[in-house]
C-alpha cells in the first residue's frame, strides 16, 4: 500500500520539477526558434543524459555507502535552505515586493540575444548546443538535488524511484505542453507552484533534519501533515501582512508624488 509520505514526496518532486522544466523549456524554445532545432535538441539530450547518470550513480552510491542518519541531516539541511529560499522569494513576489517571474519577458530577451549572434540555421550550431545544454543542465541540477534528496532521505531505492518518476512525469508533461503550444508557458501559475513547493521542501527539510539529529517528532511521519499546516498558516499570515504593508507604501508614494 502507498503511504501518505510517498504520495507527498511524489507531489513535491513533480511540482518542483515542473517549475524548473518550464524555465528550461523557455531556453530551449528561444534557442530552437532563433538558431535551429537540431543543435538545440542535441544540447538538451546530452544534458538530460548527464543528469540521468548523476541520479543513478550518485544516488545509488550514496544509499549504499553513507549511513542514513548522516544522509538525513545533510539532505534535511539542504532541503530546508532550499525550501526557505523558494518560500521567501514566492512570498515577496506574491506581496508585490518583487516582480513576478515573467517567462515571456525572459523568452524575448533570450531570442534578442541569440538573434544577434551569427550562425547557420539547419547545420550544427555550437551556440544553440551550448545554450540549450547549459540551460537544461543548470535547471536540471535543481531537479536532481530534489530527486536525490527526497530519494535518499527515505533510505530506500523505492523512494529514489518514486522521486525520479515524479521528475520524469513533470518533465514529460511540460515538454508535451511546449511541443503543442510552441511558445513559453506564460499561463502556468508559477508563483503559486513555488509557494506550494517552498512549503513542502521546508516541511520535509525540517522533518528529516530533525530525524537525523535525533529529534523525536510526535506521531512519527503523520507529523509531516501537522508541520505542513503550521508552515502553510505562517505563509498565509506573512503574505497577507506584507501585502498590506506594500499597499500602504504604494499609497504613501502616490500621495508624495501628488
Amino acid at each position: 500500500m502507498i503511504d501518505q509520505s510517498t504520495v507527498l514526496l511524489f507531489i513535491t518532486v513533480t511540482v518542483a520539477s515542473a517549475v524548473e522544466a518550464v524555465e528550461a523549456l523557455t531556453i530551449i524554445l528561444a534557442s530552437g526558434i532563433t538558431r535551429g532545432w537540431r543543435s538545440t535538441f542535441e544540447g538538451a539530450a546530452l544534458a538530460l543524459a548527464c543528469l540521468a547518470v548523476i541520479v543513478v550513480v550518485v544516488g545509488a552510491a550514496l544509499i549504499q555507502y553513507v549511513p542514513l542518519y548522516i544522509l538525513r541531516v545533510v539532505v534535511g539541511t539542504l532541503l530546508l535552505i532550499f525550501g526557505l529560499q523558494w518560500l521567501t522569494k514566492a512570498i515577496l513576489r506574491e506581496t508585490g515586493f518583487k516582480a513576478l517571474h515573467d517567462e515571456c519577458d525572459i523568452y524575448e530577451r533570450e531570442v534578442a540575444t541569440l538573434s544577434q549572434e551569427k550562425g547557420i540555421r539547419g547545420k550544427r550550431d555550437s551556440l544553440a548546443f551550448v545554450v540549450s545544454f547549459k540551460g537544461v543542465l543548470l535547471e536540471g541540477m535543481e531537479v536532481i538535488m530534489i530527486v536525490i534528496s527526497f530519494g535518499l532521505a527515505g533510505g530506500s531505492h523505492n523512494q529514489l524511484e518514486t522521486a525520479a518518476l515524479g521528475a520524469v512525469v513533470a518533465v514529460g508533461f511540460i515538454s508535451a505542453m511546449g511541443a503543442v503550444v510552441a511558445r513559453p508557458l506564460a499561463k502556468v501559475p508559477e508563483n503559486y507552484m513555488k509557494l506550494g513547493v517552498g512549503n513542502l521542501l521546508t516541511v520535509f527539510g525540517l522533518f528529516w533534519m530533525g530525524e537525523g539529529t535525533g529529534v523525536q517528532w510526535p506521531l512519527g511521519e503523520v507529523f509531516i501533515l501537522v508541520l505542513l499546516a503550521i508552515i502553510f498558516l505562517a505563509t498565509v499570515v506573512l503574505v497577507s501582512h506584507f501585502k498590506r504593508v506594500h499597499k500602504r507604501e504604494m499609497e504613501v508614494q502616490h500621495d508624495v508624488k501628488r
Binding site: L84, K98, G210, T213, G214, Q216, I230
Partner: protein, 82 residues
C-alpha cells in the same frame, strides 16, 4: 606559453566556478537563511534528548527565520528605492 603554464589556471578556474556554483545554489542572495538553518541544526542537535523542547524550538526557529528573511528583504527593497 606551454601547456603546463595553462593547466593551473584552467584548474583554478574550474575549482572557482565549482565553488561559486554551489555558493549561488545554497547561499544565493540570502546568507541569513543558510546561517539560520545551520543554527537550527545546532539547536535541534543540542536539544534532541528532550521529546518536547526539540520539536517546539525547531518549529519556532523556522517560523522566526522565515519571518525575519521576508522582513529583511522588504526592508532592503524599500531602502534601495530612490
Amino acid at each position: 606559453m606551454t601547456s603546463n603554464d595553462k593547466t593551473p589556471s584552467v584548474l583554478r578556474r574550474g575549482i572557482k566556478s565549482f565553488f561559486s556554483f554551489w555558493k549561488d545554489f545554497l547561499v544565493g542572495d540570502s546568507p541569513v537563511l543558510a546561517l539560520g538553518v545551520i543554527i537550527i541544526l545546532g539547536v535541534a542537535y543540542l536539544l534532541h534528548n528532550s521529546a518536547v523542547l526539540a520539536p517546539v524550538f525547531a518549529i519556532i526557529l523556522v517560523l522566526v527565520l522565515m519571518t525575519f528573511a521576508v522582513w529583511q528583504k522588504t526592508r532592503t527593497r524599500r531602502h534601495s528605492q530612490p
